[in-house]
């Protein structure tokens, strides 16, 4: 494959990143999807809208988030200097709020009265419920019954924020099924409802729209590392479920050929078992939830259940732009198992006093491996995409502790 002049040009007007992406949705949704695209394109170029978004990100979310030098973690690894981009310090405790602010302002601009969302770990559900409370919009969050079980604190938070949490029992009761159900609701309520998608997946324009609202992570990182180190990092690391925190960090660095970029997929019990969530490493291209992308599927093209200890990574697909960057070999995708993530969770908590989300713990585990292989004058930036308070029950269970 020829190397393109830039990796930052996508998607094309059909919403494609190479062969990935597109608009594979039911006809009922098409007029609305086109309307979302038109409105997003207008808003993107509207200084007033941009000022509104920036205002909320600064005053409400608390941006910019710090770029923190993790000194004790670095010492422990004994190699490259490791920085954490502290998205866990955002209001609601993860990067998800960045895109929620942007999307809800767009929904308001379009005159929509009701917001729906899907959620896995509950972080996107909480962020969505939060912005709905902030703007006084009606909110329904679809969440798999299995995920509701393992993320009780977030379920309660959403309810406190005034959202209706609708349990989804179809399939394995996880993120994929929640997304199916959200799409069904949307088809039935197109006239007044905006679907606030939590990741860089779904039909065009969602992958590009969510990336545009998340790329502030990478833009800030660039500025901050130049300030602190006077140069760009050698390596970027972020966990990938759908992949919005990763796209947010990676995008502004895609054309910096010297920056090595690593996305971390959740290997569950191991990528060589039936229980993992490595769509790129263990899947093949297919079409689901409005886009073509790498998917976990059987020989007949039926979608398989993913597995990860982290509800936010428990999805059999991945954003289409990641599939493109994988095929183009611009970004490497590695796998971290449940156990490695649990170990990294504990290590980071003890060494840095930062409790990382189980999702982000996958990136921390990869950083530990990478840092050891690198020299002391090299720099790694890890996206600390969320905080782990919500995961305390899961970790206790994994450690065999009864709370």
């Amino acid at each position: 494959m020829n190397k393109p002049n830039t990796f930052m040009a996508g998607p094309d007007e059909d919403g494609r990143f190479g062969i990935f992406g597109g608009r594979f949705v039911a006809e009922t949704l098409m007029p609305l999807i086109l309307e979302v695209e038109r409105n997003f394109n207008e808003a993107k170029d509207d200084p007033e809208f941009q000022a509104q978004v920036q205002g909320y990100l600064k005053q409400y979310v608390g941006r910019p988030s710090p770029l923190y030098f993790a000194e004790r973690f670095t010492e422990h690894c004994g190699g490259a200097k490791v920085y954490f981009k502290r998205e866990d310090l955002n209001h609601t405790g993860a990067h998800k709020i960045n895109s929620c602010i942007g999307q809800i302002l767009l929904a308001k601009r379009m005159g929509k009265k009701r917001i729906i969302a899907e959620t896995g770990a509950g972080q996107h559900g909480v962020a969505t419920a939060t912005v709905c409370a902030l703007f006084g919009l009606d909110c329904t969050v679809f969440m798999g019954a299995t995920d509701i079980e393992r993320q009780q604190p977030n379920v309660f938070r959403m309810k406190l924020l005034g959202a209706e949490v609708r349990p989804v029992t179809a399939g394995s009761g996880t993120l994929k099924d929640a997304m199916n159900e959200a799409l069904r609701d949307w088809v039935a309520n197109v006239h007044d409802t905006f679907y606030l998608i939590g990741t860089v997946a779904g039909p065009h324009p969602y992958p590009v729209m969510v990336r545009e609202f998340q790329k502030i992570i990478g833009e800030e990182t660039r500025e901050q590392i130049m300030e602190q180190e006077g140069r760009l990092p050698d390596t970027l690391i972020a966990c990938v479920g759908g992949g919005s925190n990763a796209m947010g960090l990676f995008y502004p660095f895609l054309d910096d050929a010297d920056v090595r970029i690593i996305g971390v997929e959740a290997a569950g019990h191991g990528v060589d078992t039936d229980e993992h969530a490595c769509s790129l490493t263990g899947g093949r291209p297919g079409v689901l939830h409005g886009n073509r992308t790498y998917l976990l599927q059987d020989d007949d093209g039926q979608i398989q259940e993913a597995h990860s200890i982290s509800a936010g990574l428990d999805y059999p697909g991945i954003g289409p732009e990641h599939s493109y960057l994988y095929d183009m070999k611009r970004v490497e995708y590695h796998c971290i198992t449940d156990q490695e993530a649990v170990d990294a969770f504990q290590l980071c908590t003890k060494l840095e006093g930062i409790i990382p989300a189980l999702e982000s713990s996958h990136a921390v585990a990869e950083a530990e491996k990478m840092a050891k292989e690198m020299s002391k004058d090299q720099i790694i930036v890890v996206n600390m995409s969320g905080r782990g308070d919500k995961d305390v029950n899961t970790i206790a269970k994994a450690m065999g502790t009864v709370l």
Binding site: F24, A26, E27, T28, M30, N180, V190, L288, L295, Q302
Partner: protein, 274 residues
């Protein structure tokens, strides 16, 4: 002339609308499915819409979701769907067959290979829910190039410009989704449908079928009276579910019960004056 065009022509001469039945291939199992398909034309089905089961049927309500799950649990595959069609064609070379489903299993099978094998099996057309006109290069164009119909859905959310686009790309017939919602979750409103059909007809000479919101023989009668075809899916699939035991296997008499219900619906359609 294709089987679909022939059938609509013949019915036009009879002065009535077509009755289209939807049943998922392999629901609840291969053998029952074979018997159902074989019996549908005699029970009054003019066109068979056969569901290709998919793990994630985003545009379907609970009834068809469950039907899909039953078929997959009993081992139905895309190859199996084509084998069922080929089997049906051994005794019936007239009744049009339209496969309905989602794109991923076809994409996984290989589009070109699938078009060839579907044609060989005796398939006449396709309804692929997640392939709007914007994605026509994926499958609609290859299917039409092979002489098979690609039936587009149109919905209450389409404006005139979109209707015109769909009409220009459609073949076989146009399928009007009469509710904004997933299959089998609401009932169509006659006055809305009447206006919609009129609007669609101003863009095309193709027959217009009504579906997604027909749940009873009476509704089938009303909708058939307003259009060229009435499609019933969820209600028939529910009838299958009613005839399963606690292990989700077919009880004795399932086929007879479902076909007698289909016949009731068919009489509704025949009673309509189109």
């Amino acid at each position: 002339m294709s089987r679909i065009a022939k059938r609509f022509d013949a019915l036009k001469k009879e002065g009535r609308s077509a009755f289209v039945t939807f049943v998922t291939a392999g629901d609840p199992d291969l053998k029952t499915s074979q018997e159902l398909f074989a019996g549908l034309p005699e029970a009054g089905a003019d066109i068979l819409e056969i569901g290709m089961p998919f793990s994630d049927p985003m545009a379907d309500g609970p009834a068809i979701q469950l039907g899909s799950q039953r078929a997959l649990a009993n081992g139905m595959t895309l190859k199996g769907v084509l084998a069922l069609v080929a089997d049906f064609r051994k005794t019936d070379n007239e009744t049009p067959i339209v496969l309905m489903g989602y794109f991923n299993p076809i994409y996984s099978f290989g589009v070109d290979k699938f078009v060839v094998e579907a044609k060989e099996a005796g398939v006449d057309g396709f309804i692929i829910v997640d392939l709007p006109p914007e994605e026509e290069r994926e499958f609609a164009i290859p299917a039409k190039d092979a002489g098979l119909d690609f039936i587009y859905l149109t919905t209450p959310t389409a404006d005139d410009a979109r209707l015109a686009t769909i009409a220009s790309k459609a073949s076989g017939f146009i399928y009007y989704v009469s509710i904004t919602g997933v299959t089998g979750t609401a009932s169509a409103v006659a006055s809305d449908v009447e206006a919609a059909v009129k609007r669609i007809k101003s863009h095309t000479d193709l027959p217009v079928a009504i579906g997604f919101g027909i749940n009873t023989p009476d509704q089938a009668k009303v909708m058939a009276g307003l259009s060229d075809a009435a499609v019933v899916g969820s209600a028939i699939v529910k009838k299958i579910a009613d005839n399963l035991d606690e292990n989700a296997t077919a009880k004795d008499g399932l086929v007879e019960d479902v076909l007698s219900y289909v016949n009731e619906l068919a009489r509704g359609v025949r009673a309509a004056s189109a």
